[in-house]
Symmetry: C2
Subunit: 347 residues, 2 copies
DNA sequence: TGGCAAGATTGGAACGATCCAGAATCCGCG
DNA sequence: CGCGGATTCTGGATCGTTCCAATCTTGCCA
């Protein structure tokens, strides 16, 4: 059956074809597509019929040329870090594709700062923009000292950041972020409610403002109950090995009954240490992670983790994009979303 | 400093601008960019200087319009399955972006068969193609009964599949795949070499040809050593829960000393069962997975897993794309790559 | 019924590149 | 020195759409 429907590989119909068929001018067809409210009822119907009969679809290249827009959003693909549990992007990318598609945009992937110096990589952004390959960017790697945001702002490149402008609170670009402090506070309070008193923190190096933010939530929760944080925090790099070492040291020196971690990767390190010592997560020692990665979902016995509302982030990012590319608006340029806690057997 | 370099937001230079500056015609500049060998040495140099001075970049929309090509490759994003350990696509997408970028292509993401009936989703493919949004597709979900390949072939849509045409060995489209049987054979032989005699298989439902292929490798390895497979195989759906149940049953009824699984997800299920029973993976019972997902890398004590050479797959996919979009070639249309085994502490 | 503004429709020009055919230049050789 | 052919360069036409300004209809009221 499908075979009978197979189209010969002819050239697709154009505006002119539709116009002829409907007995109107090209411009009228164009209006029928882009500004239907300009047409009289009966004309609109006639044109729409013709469009349907011919299976007309506007040629994107031509439209892009004329309107100087591509309706594409550039998303740099950053390096996959072996050994970390970050499937975070997977979920975000998926949500972003869905949401932006509904808004008439498609997502264009391109190599981000994969290799070499950042200057060179950023030049790639500029090329995409100048060649009208993309209308705007969505950037996610707003880590310590990443020059992206400042550079893009400087070049007047339209972009939305997933991540706050930590180093420049005055930054005027659009951003969406998740409240990390609230997240670790959620996790910590959950443990406190379970009766834990000595709750350790394993986070990132002090120069990671994102890490310090998440840490603040842990500290806030402890202080709120009159508990001290002294000696209970460790700051390392984001790897399983680091989490493993840090938790071993903390167990020996501070005797915590629970760990709150800045990432699932670090939490996995804790699980390693527990396994090494014959301790059972959730039974002997409680552990929580951050990101609700697939690892957290499938690892025995199940890792309690802070889940970022990536679907909502995507929605907000697209909203920001629309504001960015549309007429100037006075909406707030930064949005902070609240994470949730997914409780599993590790706590 | 950077601020001083900021460009005013002027219109980018066009071919005509470069032509004027270099004192040649538009066409000559076009040739300098696309067919440099047509120019005399000195003219080429002069034009290239002008290009560099003005920072000229061809306008993609205009080029696409004229050449009827977009230099974009469509990659449908399929649903994220919660609870499975499939970060496979992450790695593949990354490789594909890198490789195709080097070949002058960019990757366009769009919602695949996310919701509803496949017919509707496939119509989305057609739209992209007809509106000249993409030149070709890369499809990955060639699972049981997926109509994609046949449908795309029918519509004469150019595409390359990651995955063999299981249901139609005569299919004439381009594809790249990884030898699953060889993968499980690798894993099984590894266990046999370690002295295991009773090695169980946990795979997918029998109607998954991909699953049966992987299973065949396990059976082949056992038979090669004169061992029987009787009672040692279980076929379930791809979830942690299924792997958990299947392994529990197998442990009770067949008393295997090792498990070879068709996916990391199933292997995680086995790890759950082992944890339930106080058994230690790699010590009491050996386990191997398939895909070398991030989960395999970070879970204690480390999951031995078959790793697909996704980087090579991407290279082959791009090679196929070039053949597909370029002049007809007589290269073979199917490529089968060999996986490797990543040994960790679970075996 | 004439006048007029609002509404609906139209045709030419433009976006910036490449295709194509023809013109100019170069080169070697009789 | 002139000629033919290869090499190099050029200008107009074109891809399919939207912008723009102008024209044609319509509806309303005096």
């Amino acid at each position: 059956m499908a075979r009978m429907m197979s189209r010969p590989s002819v050239v697709p119909p154009t505006l002119a074809d539709v116009a002829e068929r409907a007995g109107v001018s090209r411009q009228t067809v164009s209006n029928a597509v882009n500004n239907p409210e300009l047409l009289r009822h009966d004309t609109l119907a006639r044109v729409q019929d013709a469009i349907a009969e011919l299976g007309y679809l506007p040629n994107r290249a031509a439209r892009n040329l004329r309107t100087r827009a591509s309706h594409l959003i550039g998303l740099p693909i950053t390096g996959v870090h072996e050994g970390t549990a970050n499937a975070l992007m997977d979920r975000f990318v998926h949500s972003l594709v869905e949401t932006s598609s509904a808004a008439g945009y498609h997502v264009l992937l391109f190599p981000g700062a994969a290799t070499g110096n950042p200057e060179e990589a950023l030049a790639g952004y500029d090329d995409l923009l100048r060649s009208t390959a993309v209308d705007a960017f969505v950037v996610t790697d707003t880590y310590l000292g990443n020059p992206q945001a400042a550079w893009l702002t400087d070049r007047r490149a339209p972009f939305v950041a997933f991540g706050r402008p930590w180093h420049d609170p005055e930054a005027s670009h659009w951003w969406v972020d998740v409240d990390g402090a609230a997240g670790s506070e959620l996790a910590t309070n959950h443990l406190l409610d379970k009766g834990h008193q000595r709750i350790a923190w394993i986070g990132w190096r002090k120069d990671s403002l994102l890490g310090e933010d998440r840490r603040a939530g842990w500290a806030r929760a402890l202080h709120a109950r009159g508990l001290s944080t002294a000696g209970l925090a460790s700051r390392v790099e984001d790897s399983v090995a680091s989490g493993r070492e840090a938790s071993a040291v903390l167990l020996d020196e501070a005797h915590p009954s629970a760990f709150v971690c800045a990432s699932d990767t670090l939490a996995m390190g804790v699980l390693h240490t527990l396994a090494d010592r014959g301790l059972r997560a959730g039974h002997d020692i409680a552990v929580t992670g951050f990101d609700d990665s697939q690892v957290a979902q499938v690892v025995p016995p199940g890792l309690t983790s802070v889940r970022q509302p990536l679907e909502d982030v995507a929605v907000e990012v697209v909203r920001a994009l629309k504001n960015l590319l549309g007429p100037p608006s006075s909406e707030p340029r930064g949005v902070l979303l609240e994470p949730t806690l997914v409780v599993r057997a590790s706590s």
